[in-house]
Amino acid sequence: MSVTAGAPFRRGAPSFLSWIPTGRGTTLTIYIVKRLLWMIPVLFFVIVITFVLMHLAPGSPWDREGRQLSPQVVENLNIKYGLDKPLWQQFLIYVWGVIHFDFGDSLRQPGQHVSDLILVSWPYTFTLGAVTFILLVPIGIGLGVIAALRQNSLVDYTALGLATAAASTPNFVVGIFLIIIFALGMNKLTGGTFYFPTGGMPSPFNPFQVELIMPVITLGALPTAYIARLTRSSTLDTLRQDFVRTAWAKGLKARLVVIRHVLKNSLIPVVTALGPTFAFLITGSFITETLFSIPGIGRTFVSSIAARDYTVILGTTILFALLIALVNLVVDVLYVFIDPRVRLTE
């Protein structure tokens, strides 16, 4: 069979996929599969970039403050961890390991697999991030909607002012100010009977602990402000649309106009913000966990950078990149379901 000029031969699935029924669902499946496959080269280059940068770095994991290891010891360590091999060989060995879900041993914590370190620390990061996320989305959207519905009122200005201040105050400054007010200040004020604890997380997976309050505010302030600002501006856009005027004109109750006509449309762009918000929760965890001494993945990553623990840096970076890629994929797919006007291309 010959292909006639202009025939849409690329539009359907290739013939070996002909058993898949066609339709919107199939396009979606193909799209998801394509995106998942695209993740492989992305993650490969993430490994390449991080690997090369790590080995460019001055200093080695065997540097110690004070008494240095003897050259013989360093040589033996290099042989044990394969650091004596040429770089390309180390790289291939590492990638081979990653394909088999083996991320190597930590160089600075002898006998600890990188995956073990991550398994030990992820509950803390997960609890912190999940609690923050569950709180920040409704608060951010709520503030944004209220500000937009009462545009140019005192409520609007207060919400907008708070959001702008939160968006341009670094999270470590927010955290430290919280500590000064709610730990130091309250301690002094109540004579040491009531104050917020400044660190640690005694029980992971427990969302109701006092220790979480300050870290969650520290981590959540900026993304909440971001979502509030975005919701406000997209709600203002929607309020000006003709169909909203029609809804008012035909005498719908305010609650119905807002929920059925305004929110349904104005929240669509907010979904795209979830990707950057997730990335922010990850980088925010570096600072929040360091500030409040929470033994999560963020703090593991930061301390491994300082210690030049190559394998831990690589392992955590791959994990973060994979998570972000997956979240972005989920967001893009969600978008198709939420907004029927969007068609998948590519």
């Binding site: 080269p41 992305v42 993650l43 280059f45 993430v46 970039i49 991080t50 940068l53 790590m54 460019l56 770095a57 001055p58 200093g59 702008t164 201040a165 968006a167 341009s168 105050t169 670094p170 470590f172 400054v173 430290i176 100010f177 500590i179 000064i180 130091l184 501006s233 203002l236 990335a279 922010f280 990850i282 980088t283 570096f286 600072i287 360091t290 500030l291 990553f301 930061v302 950078i305 300082a306 030049r308 840096i313 970076t317 973060f320 990149a321 972000i324 890629a325």
Partner: protein
């Protein structure tokens, strides 16, 4: 044809008083009080930061601009001094004057924040322009590369870069440039692609305008507004990243009083004297806020369609 052009020159066009884009933008910018306040704060801060960097030789300009004490001068007998006339913001654990350290830190933060934008403009601008202008496989390659860069969260990549280059002012500088160009490249590419479609550019191409002139005469003036706004918003981002790196102990090294270093030092001694963190913390937040206001003002001023 030649006569027609000659005639056109002689016609006395009745043009109402022209206000250029920039004059218009300035008028709109001035109407935004927050943006003007932000600009004033920034200008004052730049002058004070310059003063803090002047060599500490007495007399002359130093007397006028170098308002305070030496940022490195230690006086251990006078540590954690409360604010006084001599030390308006008190002293730190080693008895160094806090105000002069904050002003010196301002010079580091502002330099990094502002100068990095030129590096970002260079990298992101040329990559975005090349991708948009040439299209085809070059565009594909460059955009796939920016996709890969997007897989890293900003701060993570900066951390890895700084770890690779070793902690110093210059490595932070280069790391920030190598990370933050991605957004600008995408913006410039989009601008180039949309401008390429415009009729006047097609006309210019058809009349045989050279690519260089096309870029200088049409592309640059038309995409300047959004680029300036993006770069302005990049300044607080860069200032934040520098402070965060130094706070995590991976950026500027302690004897240099960067704001992040001061906050890290102050946090270690927060139970002894919370002022050590409060003042540099306010300095970072105030600077970032000012740049955000100026960015908001510029966006509204340069793109009247965005205004509400």
């Amino acid at each position: 044809m030649a006569t027609a052009i000659g005639l056109a020159h002689q016609v006395d066009w009745d043009v109402p008083e022209q206000t250029g884009l920039w004059k218009d933008a300035w008028v709109r910018f001035r109407r935004n009080r927050l943006a003007v306040a932000g600009l004033v704060v920034i200008v004052v801060m730049i002058v004070l930061a310059l003063g803090a960097r002047l060599p500490a030789t007495p007399g002359g300009l130093w007397k006028i601009l170098h308002l305070t004490n030496e940022p490195f001068l230690q006086d251990v007998t006078n540590s954690y001094a409360t604010p006084s006339l001599q030390h308006p913001l008190g002293t730190d654990i080693l008895g160094r004057d806090q105000l002069s350290r904050i002003l010196y830190g301002a010079s580091i933060s502002l330099t990094i924040g502002i100068v990095v934008q030129f590096l970002i403009l260079g990298i992101g601008g040329s990559i975005g322009m090349a991708a948009g202008y040439f299209g085809g496989w070059i565009d594909n390659l460059l955009m796939r590369f920016t996709d890969i860069m997007y897989a890293f969260p900003d701060l993570l990549l900066v951390l890895v870069f700084v770890a690779a280059f070793g902690p110093s002012f210059w490595s932070i500088f280069i790391a920030l440039g190598l990370v933050y160009w991605v957004g600008l490249a995408r913006l410039v590419r989009g601008q180039v692609l949309s401008i390429k479609e415009k009729e006047y550019v097609e006309a210019a191409i058809m009349t045989g305008t050279s690519p260089l002139k096309l870029i200088v005469k049409h592309l640059v003036p038309n995409s300047l507004g959004p680029v300036i706004v993006t770069l302005t918003f990049g300044i607080p981002a860069a200032i934040f990243t520098e402070a965060a790196l130094s706070f995590l102990g991976i950026g500027i090294r302690p004897p240099e009083p960067s704001w992040g270093v001061m906050i890290e030092d102050g946090y270690a001694g927060i139970f002894a004297d919370p002022r050590q963190v409060i003042f540099p913390g306010i300095a970072v937040a105030l600077t970032m806020l000012s740049f955000t206001f100026v960015g908001d003002g510029l966006r509204d001023a340069l793109d009247p369609r965005m205004r509400r």
